[in-house]
């Protein structure tokens, strides 16, 4: 049963006040008590759950909306499947077999009697709704009507029983062989806010949104199988029927995921760092990855340490790290107090895996887990803040990554290559690769982030949610300094932990800590699909050679063009003056203040600030030395600049030298390749 929570809050008390519950970190207004049994042969779940929900809004509601995510893979007419096909990904092509689809069937749903409120069967009012696209074939959200409204502060309990057919993995949940990863599996309430339910349908490019609560879950799986789940294990009971029930409880989270397999090997570790609470780490690995144990643990600890010190401590005291089975598709996903990484049998250190994904998913404990924004509508908040942060952690702990290519891709399949090769010398920095500039570039003008994420073009959604946000946050870091951005993000974390912040909340806290109104910046990077590109349009430096009539003693006096034969000798001499003219252009639609740095032959540097607003600006300098090079935004503050090559100009440049160097190497490959063509004749 649900942990006891005071049923009805007295009127006049702040509904977000959790002081009545000892030790509560969150409102705990959506609490789930679930009993679930896995049938591994039939690949079915059978569940019974009691949801205790408290209305923490100021408006009453007489209806409830539940997500039933697994109905997204019930057939190809669901909104998820339609969108997946539309974006051209189509997970497993046309080869979805009968056993691969999934569904959830709610068998009973009752309102439990409490106080004056009588018991009521809600099943008759159950109907599927499609608030986002009106797709009548979509069964990912259902609504039930309550006999009487739930008033502000009032609680109700709803009991459901259901069966679910487990999918062959879609969206990181499902089975492969006897490996099961079970996420977003039970009928789950949406979020009641602003007088209505935020419970969008399941979309192929977006994730989830739920209220915080207590999860008390009993999971029965075959005896001898390892179970990993959200929360801490409180009990394990052998049912003497070949199954064992694992009882897990977790407070102050907004979801619950679990996994089971006979193959996992378990490693226990503990995270300790000065000033931060300790965390027990439980790592469940595939046996063939056991040698990568320490890499997974190091990355998890790195995230707990740096996110903890930058934003706020990880409060749960335990975390479960899952290394999913090969090909299961379950890797790289976050759930409360549990996350999945993902590695390969052969995976040399240096290219970012599995450290990067481990840091990212561990980091989601902070951005998503603790700060629980609406991922349907504002996915960029958690994904963007987290991408920015994971790249920062990786850089701090492991440095640059290097280019990697996976070889031996079985032709005609969706598989990735089995044999990685790292290319030393082809290094990739945090600022560009870590933040995902190459993923952002093709999506730059696709959608404004302010639009609800599930309405983004699904093919370009991640480039915006993850990479654009990471890039503009890093741009802010370079503009304001980490000493200002870090406290701002920490304040955002502190103010909105165990709550549902919105974009404006982030903007206001960053502006507050920056000591300036950053509306001009947020309007462009969040409110609009502005793209940025500053470029040196032209750069010239020449000796000033007066010619024509000049005033001498108040009268026009003719001065002829100086002789040019000994111009070389004159060069650099004190009396020759050079005029250097540089035109900087704004090629993008976005405006950002930039520095223009001019470097002269005598080593002198002149830096000019430009507000970057006009379409172009001329910079003129007169010096005794010639201009050597000029760069707009020399520190690359504006990481959203789509073309940085055009940001600099070297007056005496020899582009043929790098071209010769690299094209001659390309030619060696090309000759080899031509030899391969000749093999066939």
């Amino acid at each position: 049963m649900v942990a006891p929570v005071s049923a009805v809050e007295p009127q006049g008390v702040s509904l977000n006040d959790t002081s009545g519950i000892s030790g509560a970190l969150s409102p705990r207004n959506a609490n789930y008590s679930i009993d679930v049994r896995l049938d591994p042969e039939a690949r079915f779940l059978e569940g019974r759950q009691v949801v205790q929900w408290r209305n923490i809004q100021q408006q009453p509601t007489a209806e409830l909306r539940f997500h039933v995510y697994w109905n997204a893979w019930r057939n190809n007419e669901s909104t998820w499947m339609r969108e997946d096909r539309f974006r051209g990904r189509s997970d497993r092509g046309e080869d979805i077999l009968e056993g691969d689809w999934s569904y959830v069937e709610v068998e009973t749903i009752r309102l439990l009697a409490a106080g004056e409120r009588p018991d009521a069967d809600l099943a008759r009012s159950l109907r599927f709704v499609a608030p986002d696209d009106g797709n009548t074939g979509d069964r990912s959200v259902f609504q039930v009507d309550l006999p009487e409204p739930v008033e502000p502060g009032e609680s109700i309990e709803v009991e459901l029983s259901w069966v679910a057919k487990i999918p062959r993995t879609f969206a990181r949940t499902g089975f492969r062989g006897d490996f099961f990863f079970i996420a977003h599996w039970f009928p789950k309430l949406g979020v009641f806010e602003d007088g209505g339910w935020t419970a969008p349908q399941y979309h192929s490019a977006t994730e989830y949104y739920s209220d915080f609560g207590v999860y008390d879950v009993r999971i029965s799986v075959p005896t001898g199988w390892t179970l990993g789940a959200t929360g801490r294990k409180v009990e394990k009971t052998d049912n003497n029927d070949g199954s064992t029930t694992h009882h897990h409880i977790q407070e102050d989270v907004h979801g619950f995921a679990w996994t089971t397999s006979p193959d996992y090997i378990e490693f226990l570790d503990r995270f300790e760092a000065p000033g931060l609470p300790g965390v027990d780490i439980r790592l469940l690995m595939q046996p063939e990855h056991r040698k990568q144990k320490d890499r997974h643990l190091a990355a998890t600890r790195a995230a707990l340490e740096l996110y903890g010190s930058w934003y706020g401590p990880y409060p749960y005291g335990h975390i479960t790290v899952i290394d999913p089975a090969y090909g299961s598709g379950a890797g790289g996903m976050e759930y409360p107090t549990l996350f999945t990484c993902g590695t390969r049998w052969i995976n040399p250190f240096g290219a970012g895996s599995p450290e990067g994904v481990t840091i990212h998913e561990a980091g989601h404990q902070f951005w998503y887990g603790i700060v629980g924004n609406d991922e349907f509508n504002h996915a960029w908040i958690d994904e963007g803040l987290n991408s920015f942060s994971d790249a920062r952690v990786y850089d701090e702990k492991f440095g640059d990554t290097m280019y990697r290519k996976l070889y031996f891709v079985p032709p005609g399949t969706e598989q990735r290559g089995f044999f990685p090769r790292l290319f030393h010398g082809f290094s990739q920095s945090r600022a560009t690769y870590g933040n995902g500039l190459d993923r952002y570039r093709p999506t730059a003008t696709s959608d404004a982030p302010a639009k609800p994420t599930f309405r983004y073009h699904p093919a370009t959604a991640s480039g915006i949610s993850y990479s654009k946000t990471a890039l503009w946050l890093h741009t802010l870091e370079r503009l304001l300094g980490w000493s200002k951005l870090q406290p701002a993000m920490a304040a955002f974390f502190e103010r909105h932990k165990f709550a549902h912040p919105r974009p404006a909340d982030l903007e206001s806290v960053v502006s507050e800590y920056a000591g300036q109104d950053l509306g001009w910046f947020f309007d462009q990077v969040v409110g609009d699909s502005s793209h940025f590109d500053y470029a040196i349009d032209s750069a010239d430096s020449f000796r000033i050679e007066p010619e024509g009539y000049f005033e001498v003693a108040g009268k026009p006096s003719y001065r002829a063009k100086p002789e040019t034969e000994d111009s070389d000798a004159d060069e650099g001499s004190m009396d020759s003056e050079y005029r250097s003219e540089v035109v900087v252009r704004r090629l993008g639609t976005g405006v950002f203040p930039v520095d223009v740095l001019m470097v002269f032959e005598d080593g002198a540097e002149i830096r000019r600030r430009w507000d970057g607003a006009d379409r172009w600006k001329l910079f003129v300098e007169e010096k005794t030395s010639k201009l050597v090079s000029v760069t707009v935004d020399p520190e690359r503050v504006l990481l959203l600049d789509l073309d940085y090559t055009n940001n600099s100009r070297v007056l005496d440049s020899k582009p043929w030298k790098p071209a010769l160097k690299w094209a001659s190497r390309w030619m060696l490959w090309f000759q080899d390749l031509m030899g391969a063509f000749a093999y066939y004749v």
């Binding site: 070889y407 010398g425 790098p658 071209a659 160097k661 490959w669 390749l673 391969a676 066939y680």
Partner: protein
């Protein structure tokens, strides 16, 4: 009455000896490849130069590589430029070539690359006639005139052979595109990567064995055309097929032997091939020459195998 049959090692040695004894032949064949590749490489050089322009990026590209620049370049790359990726820029990109060679993915590299590949294949048909005729000639004195004349004389017959082999290769790569998805389906519930890899490697073994077989049959068919002055392509293929079928140990053995030699060569080259440096003109030239030396050595092995196969064929007459 019965003389001892030529062994694999002897045939291989005689093939290699014949190749080394014909430096001018090697040079001509090598040069043909270089001459075709040069203008195409010049196009890529122009693309790189125009992308770099007068940017300071040129300096970082000269010293090493610049992945940030490459990201921008790749975003705008069209046609041939798309093949300009880090993996082909070190060590001659042989792993990239190997990866597309066995799988037939080479034909998915883009229309420009495939068009040049087909052009080069035609050139190779012309060259092969000259090579085999040279190795078949008593005394083996090389002259460019007879090399070209032989190539011209045999090219139509070799072209017919190539047209006969094309559907076989096509079928083979279709088979691969059926086989690997099938393997994916039968391993769909395997949770251990090594197991899945083992299945796939078995698939590769099948495809590569068939690839080698087709190649060998048609090599011996060409040899039969040259040695026996055959005109019928179909009969020559049958002759090649029978030849391989009756001497599987020696025919396959020789291919394996030359593959091992090729692998050793690759290993050496991989060890000495530089990374992203050096920047100087002399250094760049040296890297290029080293690469050419490797390609020349590869070519010697290729010609050596042909000459060795020819020796095996003549020995059986």
């Amino acid at each position: 009455m019965y003389s001892r049959k030529l062994g694999i090692a002897e045939a291989a040695r005689s093939g290699l000896t014949a190749t080394i004894a014909a430096p001018r032949l090697l040079a001509v064949v090598w040069l043909a490849g270089v001459l075709l590749a040069l203008p195409i490489a010049a196009m890529v050089a122009t693309a790189v130069a125009s992308s770099v322009g007068k940017s300071a990026v040129g300096q970082s590209l000269e010293q090493g590589f610049d992945m940030d620049w490459h990201g921008e370049f790749a975003h705008q790359a069209r046609g041939l430029e798309k093949s300009f990726t880090p993996s082909v820029l070190v060590g001659g990109g042989w792993l990239d070539t190997l990866d597309v060679w066995w799988s037939g993915e080479i034909f998915s590299l883009g229309p420009e690359i495939v068009a040049f590949g087909i052009l080069f294949a035609f050139l190779w048909i012309l060259i092969t006639g000259g090579i085999l005729a040279h190795f078949n000639r008593p005394g083996r004195r090389f002259s460019l005139g007879s090399f070209l004349a032989d190539g011209g004389r045999l090219c139509l017959r070799f072209l017919r052979l190539a047209l006969l082999s094309a559907p076989l290769y096509y079928g083979l790569f279709r088979l691969a595109r059926w086989l690997f998805p099938w393997i994916e389906r039968i391993t769909v519930d395997k949770t251990v990567e090594r197991t899945v890899l083992a299945y796939n490697l078995a698939g590769v073994a099948v495809i590569v064995a068939l690839l080698i077989t087709v190649k060998m049959v048609f090599d011996y068919a060409k040899i039969a055309v040259v040695v026996e002055e055959r005109r019928s392509a179909i009969l020559a293929v049958l002759r090649g097929f029978r030849f391989v079928l009756r001497r599987p140990l020696r025919t396959y053995g020789m291919v394996v032997l030359f593959s091992v030699l090729g692998a050793v060569l690759l290993l050496i080259y991989t060890l000495v091939a530089p990374g992203t440096g050096p920047a100087s003109f002399a250094g760049v030239t040296l890297v290029f020459l080293l690469g050419q030396l490797f390609l020349l050595a590869r070519l010697s092995l290729r010609l050596g195998l042909l000459a060795g196969e020819l020796a095996l064929f003549r020995d059986a007459l």
